[in-house]
């Protein structure tokens, strides 16, 4: 039920919101770097290039080289790609499962709600990383896709819970009752009557899932359970720490991946708050 006037209003506040502007700018910058970066280097991430080993940033190697003479910049831009992939697939899957379970539980109610709610609460209590840990440990070959899928499959509970609560409060509104009286099918009601009223909320959930998936992936990669066939930012930090970059003072090895993760996830969070302010007039600063 969005009329053009309301859309303009949202756009108006969106363009004037500083948090949103800063957040989106950072994310877009990193996205551009992800696509353009690989064209700027002629190397592969794990090529042994520099016979002198670790060297600080120079015009030849922009971010310096690792202890084995690998180009940090090349690893960095390829790692960025992995980070965005994990965020999109893991966060997307987590949101999708959350929506599915949240809508079903919230709209159906009764025994189905009871069962799904119990399931949600159980998965909610188990630390995500602990589960991923033993799954990843037993998988001898791991790819970014598999990693993202496992992350998505364990990250959904809080989303499901939040969406269920929202659905619950919308379910008893008049327009939903009306749709039900007119004989609409349950799924049609959910997608044409309830979901459009929660679109902004679902977007916020997705953004938070996106950021969460990136952080979990970085954690998993850092303890050595990341992808076995690709580069990632977490893996770069893992290698840097394992090979004593700290004691040797090779800061250009471990600083860039951390800065990137922090900037991307931080920008996502700030965008999230900005969007929240745009959608919710109560939060706009006066």
């Amino acid at each position: 039920m969005t009329n053009p006037k309301k859309k303009n209003e949202i756009l108006y506040f969106a363009l004037r919101n500083n948090k949103l502007r800063v957040g989106l700018t950072i994310i877009i910058l990193f996205l551009v770097l992800t696509f353009v970066g690989p064209m700027l280097t002629d190397y592969a991430p794990y090529d042994y290039l520099n016979p002198k080993g670790a060297q600080p940033p120079s015009s030849e190697y922009w971010f310096g080289t690792t202890m084995f003479g690998q180009d940090v910049f090349t690893q960095f831009v390829h790692g960025l790609k992995a980070t965005f992939l994990v965020g999109a697939i893991g966060g997307g899957l987590g949101t999708f499962i959350g929506i599915l379970i949240g809508f079903t539980a919230g709209y159906r109610g009764g025994i189905i709600d009871e069962l799904l709610n119990t399931l949600t609460n159980i998965v909610l209590v188990i630390p995500t990383l602990a589960i991923l840990l033993i799954i990843a440990a037993y998988l001898t070959v791991r790819g970014i896709l598999v990693e993202s899928i496992f992350i998505g499959c364990t990250a959904w509970p809080w989303a499901a819970r939040a969406i269920r609560a929202q659905t619950f409060s919308l379910r008893s509104r008049d327009f939903v009752d009306l749709a039900r009286l007119s004989g609409m099918r349950a799924w049609k009601i959910i997608f044409t009557e309830i979901a459009p009223n929660m679109m902004s909320y679902l977007l916020l959930v997705f953004i938070l899932q996106f950021g969460g998936a990136i952080l979990i992936a970085a954690t998993l990669d850092f303890i050595g359970l990341g992808p076995t066939n690709a580069v990632s930012l977490g893996l770069m930090m893992n290698n840097a720490v394992l090979w004593g970059a700290l004691l040797l003072g090779i800061w250009w090895w471990f600083v860039p991946p951390g800065v990137a993760i922090m900037a991307i996830v931080g920008a996502l969070y700030v965008t999230n708050v900005g969007l929240d302010e745009v959608f919710n007039p109560k939060l706009r600063e006066m």
């Binding site: 630390p127 602990a130 033993i134 850092f222 993760i261």
Partner: protein
């Protein structure tokens, strides 16, 4: 109250049941033979492999029917038997883990509690105070978006390597043996400080932001406006807002435990701090599956216990749960 806690306990028992089942299931149903994988590394001649293969097959209990394997797994668990560590052969996994647990508690408990209290106080203070909102909050966002291990790496590098103030590895000086003396306690505290600080800082940012947003919601609620209209002092309105805003933060604490535990694991890896996180790294590098599975169970048990403690705290803080007014939603 009994209904509220009863529901929670039921969930925890089911969770524990599920966790143990996963712990049992994964090695058996993952692609590949766990015993083969475990032996593919390290052992040299064929005879040795055969003997070890027999040993591990029996240790996993793979030579009996599947339902009996499952029951055996539970019964071993209740006898405190988590298998034998491969990496620290022949020490039992349970004992290896028990040695690491005190370090985890020593690191996590102060980090969780102090960051929660400080973050909430600070967030409530910063809300709707223009200059604090504009200067400190961005820092809060940056902190909470920082990966734990990276902040740990930075702190270790800055304070440990460049400035040389703090040690960056171990739980106490390598030249010391654990005993009760000021030198030893001082050394322990010195080794503890950096890992603690990196956990504290990340969490502090998260709680401060959460509280700041909560307080703003509450200050916009009808009861706050009503109080203001009555002419109540700003301080009183904020006090009421705080009491309401703290409840979601308590729930948030229990939701966040898993993340904090994950953070502690990687922080320990950075600082070679001998808790469970460091143990897991060793176990992964040495393909010590029994040890990984044991650590998994210990993490779950710890998180469940902490959740239960938080539930009790919630009952104390929120009178409505005591009167049975919100058994369903909580």
């Amino acid at each position: 109250m009994r209904r509220y806690l009863g529901r929670k306990i039921l969930i925890y028992i089911l969770t524990f049941f599920l966790a143990v089942t996963i712990d049992w299931l994964i090695p058996r149903f993952m692609p590949g033979d766990p015993v083969q994988t475990m032996l593919s590394r390290g052992l040299l001649h064929a005879e040795g492999v055969e003997v070890m293969y027999g040993y591990y097959t029996r240790a996993f209990g793979l030579d009996v029917p599947i339902w009996q394997q499952y029951l055996n797994f539970w019964s071993a668990l209740f006898h405190g038997d988590l298998g034998t560590s491969v990496y620290l052969f022949p020490q039992p996994v349970a004992r290896v883990i028990m040695r690491a647990v005190p370090y985890d508690i020593f690191l996590l408990l102060p980090a969780i509690l102090l960051s929660w209290f400080a973050g909430n106080k600070f967030g409530a203070f910063a809300a709707r105070t223009k200059w604090l909102d504009n200067t400190i909050l961005p820092i809060g966002y940056i902190l909470t978006a920082t990966p734990y291990m990276w902040l740990g790496i930075l702190l270790a590098w800055a304070f440990g390597v460049v400035l040389g103030i703090f040690p960056i590895a171990g739980a106490y000086g390598f030249e010391l043996r654990p005993h009760l003396s000021w030198t030893f306690i001082g050394s322990v505290l010195k080794h503890w400080f950096l890992p603690f600080a990196s956990l504290f800082l990340v969490k502090f940012g998260g709680w401060a932001i959460g509280m700041r947003n909560m307080i703003i919601y509450e200050l916009e609620a009808d009861y706050s406006h009503y109080l203001e209209a009555l002419g109540a002092p700003r301080k009183l309105v904020r006090k009421y807002a705080f009491r309401n805003a703290i409840l979601p933060q308590i729930t948030g604490l229990s939701l966040d435990l898993g993340v904090i535990v994950a953070g502690a694991l990687v922080t320990e890896v950075v600082f070679s701090y001998p808790g469970i996180g460091y143990l897991i790294l060793q176990a992964i590098q040495n393909q010590d599956y029994f040890l990984i599975q044991g650590c998994f169970l210990f993490i779950i048990i710890g998180v469940l216990l902490a959740n239960f403690a938080i539930d009790i705290a919630y009952v104390i803080v929120d009178p409505r749960t005591r009167l049975g007014m919100m058994g369903e939603t909580a």
